[in-house]
């Protein structure tokens, strides 16, 4: 073999990761997100906070104490455990909902941006149409028609929130399509699929990632709004949206801890995502790199 292996190059991703690693806030945020995912996994496997569904009707609405750090709820269940298990719901909604919408958005955006012409006009028309319906109304209408539950919630979020991703991917594809490296691949005889998936897509992936993580945060927030309107996940499933929605009645009897627990859990996840997102944006921004 040649000596080719001798010098290992550093890809843009490796470069970005190195930059992120140097950013203390980003690292902390990253580990917070990992911690949430870990917590959700453990909760889903019922390894931690197993008391989340443990009803104790002798201690409803107990204020925070050493036994129950965030008090208990109406049924005497440990609020902290429920908030922890709410992570599962939120992460599912976030990953599946945002994932689905990114998938749809990327696919349509790529097609529209890459091929242009009639395909573009059709897709643009379609997403402009959806975009012209205020998102929250579309989401409400959609989940209203499709019924409640975690599955339909994810579906509703996925099917209604892809427009932003689509727009982004489309404009990025239009931009990249004209770039010389794509033209170069064309001149070498690379097929459409090769140009789309090998050349352009990897170069838009960082933007898609950022877009996904924004979508993630907004999906989590959508769950809260839909829960408030009674269109959330199935009752009994622990969810931050439900806890916040329950607070409407609880607060007037002075029970603030349910809301507090859900808010604190959500706050740190959203904060971590937002800050991490900023760091990824900075680390992958080509404007900041070639200078």
């Amino acid at each position: 073999m040649t000596s080719a292996q001798n010098t290992q190059g550093r890809s843009l991703w490796a470069d970005a990761i190195r930059k992120i690693k140097k950013n203390r806030i980003a690292v902390v945020s990253f580990w917070i997100i990992i911690a949430y995912i870990g917590l959700a996994a453990l909760c889903a496997m019922d390894l931690v906070f197993t008391s989340y569904s443990l009803v104790d009707n002798t201690i409803p609405y107990q204020a925070p104490s050493s036994a129950h750090w965030f008090g208990t709820d109406l049924f005497g269940r440990d609020v902290l455990a429920r908030a922890a298990h709410g992570t599962v719901t939120s992460l599912i909604v976030g990953f599946v909902g945002a994932g689905l919408s990114v998938l749809i958005g990327t696919l349509l955006g790529a097609l529209a941006g890459y091929f242009g012409g009639l395909v573009d006009e059709l897709i643009t028309w379609f997403y402009s149409t959806l975009d012209n319906i205020p998102y929250i109304l579309l989401l409400v209408a959609f989940s209203f028609v499709s019924g409640p539950g975690l599955k339909t919630l994810c579906l509703a979020i996925g099917l209604t929130s892809w427009v932003g991703h689509c727009r982004l991917v489309r404009s990025e594809f239009i931009k990249q399509r004209g770039q010389e490296y794509v033209q170069g691949a064309f001149s070498m005889g690379a097929s459409h699929a090769r140009r789309i998936f090998v050349h352009i897509l990897p170069n838009t992936l960082h933007l898609i990632l950022i877009s996904f993580s924004l979508g993630f945060v907004s999906a989590i927030k959508s769950e809260v709004i839909l829960s408030y309107l009674g269109l959330g996940v199935e009752p009994g499933t622990p969810s931050w949206g439900m806890m916040i929605s329950d607070a409407k009645l609880e607060l007037s009897r002075g029970v603030w801890w349910g809301l507090a627990a859900a808010t604190v859990f959500m706050f740190f996840l959203v904060l971590a995502f937002t800050l991490f997102n900023d760091a990824v944006r900075d680390a992958t921004d080509p404007k900041l790199r070639d200078k």
């Binding site: 806030i25 028309w125 379609f126 402009s128 149409t129 959806l130 012209n132 319906i133 205020p134 109304l137 579309l138 409400v140 209408a141 959609f142 209203f144 028609v145 499709s146 809260v224 309107l229 009674g230 916040i244 607070a247 409407k248 607060l251 007037s252 809301l259 808010t263 959500m266 706050f267 959203v270 904060l271 937002t274 404007k287």
Partner: protein, 311 residues
């Protein structure tokens, strides 16, 4: 500019077509049998049949769609299933109250957030900026219920600074009731808007013209308030314009807690009652408004951005 305007207006036609089609399909095809919904709890099969006939549900689907378009064009959405009231009147009576809270609240928020986020953008990554970001995120993370319940309990009930809830339809009387909701709305929207505008300002701050302006000897303040603000206002204005249709929708929670008879409450009641004609009408009206403001936003963009203006 005129050509651009006309083209842009014509572009709205296919969009409106799509928008109405989506609303129509969502409710009439996917949303179950409207007649059964309309008939109510003691309905008999014949009753449902008669409603079907009355609602024109026995017609082919495209005729139903045309009927629906006619409703929109004449602004006659029929009557609510739940209240039997005329939907257009329900709508009109809610617009004023909603706007009385949201418009002042929105403007005051803008007055606060634009300068504040400009400063934060300038101080990017400093301690102040970081702190402000966390505070903003905290502000938006806390459920709006907390602000509303606390505001109502402390400011209105305990300290008696405002009435607890209520409404006065006279132009002078209403402000007594809207002041507290406006205040709360400002607090509610502060965080998100600052975060949002800050990003826009940061984007502008990295542009080449900023260096030119500084090379001219302009002070930082002048560079910020003249050069950057003026450029950032282009995206800000267009985005702000897109918020306007939502002002009409009002704020659901504020309205229901402060007794403001606005459209937010109307929509939520309709959702709770599965009052399809009202939901449908609201979505269509809002969507058409939104489309209109999208158009206005684009045209305004052309006005404020000289680059588009003369094309």
């Amino acid at each position: 500019m005129l050509k651009y305007t006309i083209r842009r207006i014509l572009y709205v036609i296919p969009i409106l077509f799509g928008v109405t089609l989506v609303c129509f399909l969502l409710f009439n095809v996917a949303g179950g049998d409207p007649a059964a919904q309309a008939a109510g709890k003691y309905a008999t099969v014949e009753q449902i049949e008669s409603i079907r006939a009355e609602l024109g549900l026995n017609q082919p689907i495209y005729l139903q769609y045309l009927d629906y378009l006619k409703q929109i064009l004449t602004f006659d959405f029929g009557r609510s299933w739940s209240t039997k009231q005329k939907i257009s009147e329900m709508f009109w009576s809610g617009v004023g109250p909603s706007l009385s809270v949201t418009v002042p609240g929105f403007l005051i928020t803008l007055m606060i957030t634009i300068p504040l986020s400009l400063v934060l953008g300038y101080l990017r990554d400093s301690f102040i900026d970081r702190t402000a970001m966390v505070v903003c995120l905290a502000l938006i993370s806390i459920s709006s219920l907390v602000y509303i319940l606390a505001g109502q309990y402390f400011l209105a009930y305990l300290w008696g600074m405002f009435p607890i809830s209520g409404w006065d339809s006279s132009w002078t009387g209403r402000w007594e009731y809207t002041t507290l909701p406006i205040l709360i709305m400002v607090v509610l929207s502060l965080g998100g808007q600052i975060l949002f505008f800050r990003t826009i300002f940061i984007e502008e701050l990295s542009k080449d013209y900023v260096r030119t302006a500084r090379a001219k000897g302009l002070s930082n303040k002048k560079v910020l308030t003249k050069h950057i603000l003026r450029n950032a206002l282009i995206p800000i204005i267009t985005l702000v314009v897109l918020q306007v249709p939502f002002l009409i929708l009002g704020s659901l929670l504020l309205e229901s807690f402060f007794g403001i008879p606005g459209l937010g409450g109307l929509l939520v009641t309709a959702i709770n009652n599965a009052d399809f004609p009202v939901i449908k009408a609201m979505i269509v009206i809002l969507t058409i408004l939104y489309t209109t403001f999208n158009l206005i936003s684009d045209l305004l963009y052309a006005v404020v951005d000289p680059k588009v203006r003369l094309q």
